[in-house]
């Protein structure tokens, strides 16, 4: 740790977290409107492949990112049509898509394996890049990092400060009630599922064009989709906490490497697997805290109760259920 300056460490955390933040926020949007897109692990991979393929062939980042967003949205469309309109279990559709997209990515991406392709690099922003601390932290980063950082307040603002965001949350909580108030819940759900899917696609592109540039087998992002899903829960479906969760995960990853050299006797797997038990513990905690007994106990401890409330997150009530008007 001694060799590593705090700035560099944090800058590295931000860079690592960027695609995760984008993907997790995309999934947050999807789940907030009541749809669960379980296909993230496959979508990320397929989108990463498509982004690389398109950017490689066209030389254009814009096209690469666009194609990836489209890929994510198309996958989300399947979830939407099957899950929302045909009333199939969203989890089943998502799971099948996860496995299929992964294989599809490797099948179609095979010719593009390990080619030198375009990659986004950090663009020091003139003037700002030389600031002490904030310069290296924020202004010598690739664009995706800025995108991820902008997205956090943006999603928060959209959720909690706009009318459409309010509708989005309302649909996720109670589609029937939203329907009685003149909102078409299924259209909303489909729309935001597509938006969320597109963001997941962009996250995939952020990997293959920026953070872990290139395409090949193994791509090195397998499993991150599950992690992103876990982070959404860990973050209690709140964009700020979700982003914090992604940053925490990235921090664990970055610091884990340093820690590994500090404690060589601890197997590397321990640091890598840590986020999963942590996620389970977080979920367990949230649920146990909602127990009547615990709540009563907390009633006499307002400080603690406040902390617990901050920790708590509740899934949107209608998550994963399909609404069908009569």
């Amino acid at each position: 740790m001694s060799d590593l300056s705090l700035t560099i460490l944090l800058a590295s955390v931000l860079a690592t977290a960027a695609p995760l933040i984008i993907a997790a926020l995309g999934e947050t949007i999807t789940e907030k409107v009541g749809v669960i897109n379980l296909s993230l692990d496959g979508s990320l991979l397929l989108a990463a492949m498509v982004a690389f393929m398109v950017a490689y062939e066209s030389g254009s980042f814009t096209l690469g990112f666009g194609a990836a967003a489209l890929t994510g949205a198309v996958i989300a469309l399947m979830i939407g049509v099957f899950g929302i309109y045909l009333g199939q279990l969203q989890v089943a559709v998502g799971f099948a898509l996860t496995l299929m997209c992964k294989d599809l990515a490797y099948f179609l991406g095979n010719p593009y394996s390990r080619l030198q392709g375009p990659q986004l690099v950090a663009q020091p922003i003139p003037g700002l890049a030389d600031l002490p601390f904030f310069g290296p932290l924020l202004f010598q980063q690739p664009l995706v990092v800025h995108l991820s950082l902008l997205l956090i307040p943006l999603v928060w603002w959209y959720f909690y400060r706009t009318g459409r965001g309010l509708e989005l949350r309302a649909v996720g909580e109670n589609p029937e009630a939203a329907y009685t108030r003149g909102i078409d819940p299924r259209r909303k759900q489909l729309f935001y599922t597509l938006v969320g899917g597109a963001l997941v696609g962009i996250a995939g592109a952020a990997f293959s064009l920026g953070i872990k540039p290139g395409w090949g087998r193994p791509q090195g992002i397998e499993g991150l989709g599950w992690i992103a899903l876990a982070i959404v829960i860990f973050g209690g479906w709140h964009p700020l906490k979700v982003a914090l969760g992604a940053l925490l995960f990235a921090f664990l990853q970055v610091v884990g490497i340093t820690l590994q050299s500090l404690w060589p006797s601890v197997p590397a797997q321990v640091f890598q697997v840590a986020p999963f038990p942590l996620m389970i513990l977080a979920l367990l905690l949230v649920n146990l805290l909602q127990r009547e007994g615990v709540q009563q106990w907390l009633r006499h401890r307002p400080g603690l109760a406040l902390l617990v409330r901050q920790l708590q997150g509740r899934p949107p009530r209608a998550l994963g259920q399909s609404f069908r008007p009569d």
């Binding site: 009318g163 909580e173 109670n174 009685t180 003149g182």
Partner: protein
């Protein structure tokens, strides 16, 4: 706005719930809609707001036919509804709940909306904190908020489905004053209620529904006994009641029992059930009877107080303990809580009797015979008609049961079958134990029970032996008088 409904029909699957309703509401009037539980009032109103589709019939507004296919379309036509079950978003704040929706002011400025909410609340002297979480509010307060939303809309027709659940008398007065004011502005109000005195106080005209049909229409001034007669079937006196026996030993104690749930919760309930008693629980639906039965069956845990059965406390126990000691519960929503859709009669008997399939088949055949279930041992529960589902449930009561808790046991049975069922239940279970049942039909209770508990707003307001029961008095107590 003048509303005319012509020959409205509604089927839910095979159930024919509305059987050709004609209804005419004059512009600028308050029109009441009354009827017993399940008469079809809410269904009719939901059709009018486009929440439910109709199986047949026409809707005319000011003489012009309209479609009303979705709530959005109805809102555009100026129809607004306060639903019986609050259609809101508990995890959001009060203000968010006030704002959300395409049916109202398209203004998302929180400051202005807060001011509007405040303004509306002041008009009817309601008191709501915009920043509070909705889930911390009582159902009554949630209804108030919904009402304010409705008030704030330019709706020309306001439909209120049971708007006075859980609000205080003072607030009720204000609400009524507001309703009069709205009517005087020329808007039309459709009021659905059980509480006859409210209807009487407010309405210009009342339509009575019974079993999905219009059973009568009355104009002010109203005669309450006549309304009651139109609402409820005056079933021929059932001969189910044999000689009243003296109650035996106490079987079930409920002490200072409170619980949350249903619409009203249950508050501080005390009573003892003795062997040989048939106890009827009277009250409007959702006044606490269901919770009472579930607490007694140890399906719900109380927040305070204690249930004791055969001398054993049921707190922290589940229904299995109750069942081992001879308890048995039959829920009203048969397919949700009682039967297992997709399971055949034989399956059900196998589950209930814990026996081999051969024995279960024999039992199922016997039950089909005895309870006149229209089906075969291999019919699935969901393919049975409502009435036959009820017969199946009844046939599943273990022979040795000594505490039979029944929620609306004869719902969906015709009068004759109901009579048979009561003779059967009395003969087999009243002797060896007690029967506690709720019913939406007061006549049934009066005809069958030895003792009546009257529920109102989550409290037992009367506990009367049969010889002290007076129909008018119980009906009045049920509606809060």
């Amino acid at each position: 706005m003048q509303i005319e409904l012509q020959q409205i029909h509604k089927h839910f699957g095979k159930a024919h719930v509305l059987k050709g309703i004609d209804l005419k509401v004059d512009a600028g009037s308050i029109h009441g809609l009354v009827g017993e539980n399940g008469a079809g009032k809410s269904t009719l109103m939901k059709i009018l707001t486009g929440y439910l589709s109709r199986s047949g019939g026409r809707i005319l507004l000011d003489g012009e036919e309209v479609e009303c296919e979705t709530p959005a379309a109805a809102a555009a036509l100026g129809i607004g509804m306060l639903y019986q079950e609050p259609q809101d978003f508990p995890p959001l704040t009060v203000l968010d709940n006030f704002i959300v929706g395409r049916d109202t002011h398209p203004d998302n400025h929180r400051g202005r909306q807060q001011a509007r909410l405040q303004n509306l609340a002041d008009q009817v002297h309601f008191n709501l904190d915009g920043e509070a979480q909705l889930e911390q509010l009582t159902v009554g307060e949630r209804q108030q908020l919904e009402f304010l939303r409705l008030l704030g809309r330019d709706a020309r027709l306001l439909i209120l489905d049971e708007p006075t659940t859980g609000i205080s008398d003072r607030q009720k007065e204000r609400l009524f004053a507001a309703l009069h004011q709205i009517r005087d502005q020329g808007r039309t109000i459709l009021l659905v209620s059980h509480k006859l005195e409210e209807v009487v106080a407010l309405c210009d005209r009342v339509t009575i529904l019974r079993h999905g049909e219009v059973s009568g229409e009355e104009s002010a001034p109203f005669h309450i006994p006549r309304l009651l007669a139109l609402m409820f079937d005056q079933s021929p006196a059932t001969d189910a009641k044999p000689q009243r026996r003296a109650p035996g030993d106490a079987l079930l104690w409920l002490r200072n029992l409170s619980a949350s749930g249903e619409r009203t919760g249950l508050h501080d309930c005390n009573c003892t059930i003795h062997q040989g008693e048939v106890v009827g629980l009277a009250g409007l639906s959702g006044s606490g009877q269901g919770l009472f039965l579930r607490l007694a069956a140890a399906l719900v845990q109380p927040t305070a107080g204690e249930v004791e059965f055969h001398g054993r406390s049921l707190n922290r126990r589940d229904h299995r303990t109750m069942r081992r000691l001879g308890g048995c519960f039959l829920p009203a929503n048969r397919l949700e809580e009682g039967l297992i859709a997709g399971f055949t009669l034989v399956d059900h008997f196998t589950l209930a009797l814990r026996c081999s399939r051969r024995e279960a088949r024999a039992a199922a055949e016997r039950a089909i015979d005895k309870f006149r279930i229209r089906g075969t041992p291999d019919s699935t529960a969901d393919s049975l008609s409502g009435g036959n589902q009820q017969r199946l449930l009844l046939s599943l009561i273990p022979t040795g049961a000594n505490m039979v808790l029944l929620e609306n046991p004869t719902r969906g049975l015709d009068v004759e079958s109901a009579g048979w069922v009561w003779r059967y239940l009395r003969k087999h279970y009243a002797g060896q134990g007690a029967i506690v049942f709720s019913s939406a039909e007061l006549d049934e209770i009066l005809a069958v029970a030895d003792r009546v508990l009257v529920f109102f707003d989550g409290r037992v307001v009367r506990d009367l032996p049969m010889d002290r029961v007076d129909y008018q008095d119980v009906a009045a107590a049920m509606t809060g008088n």
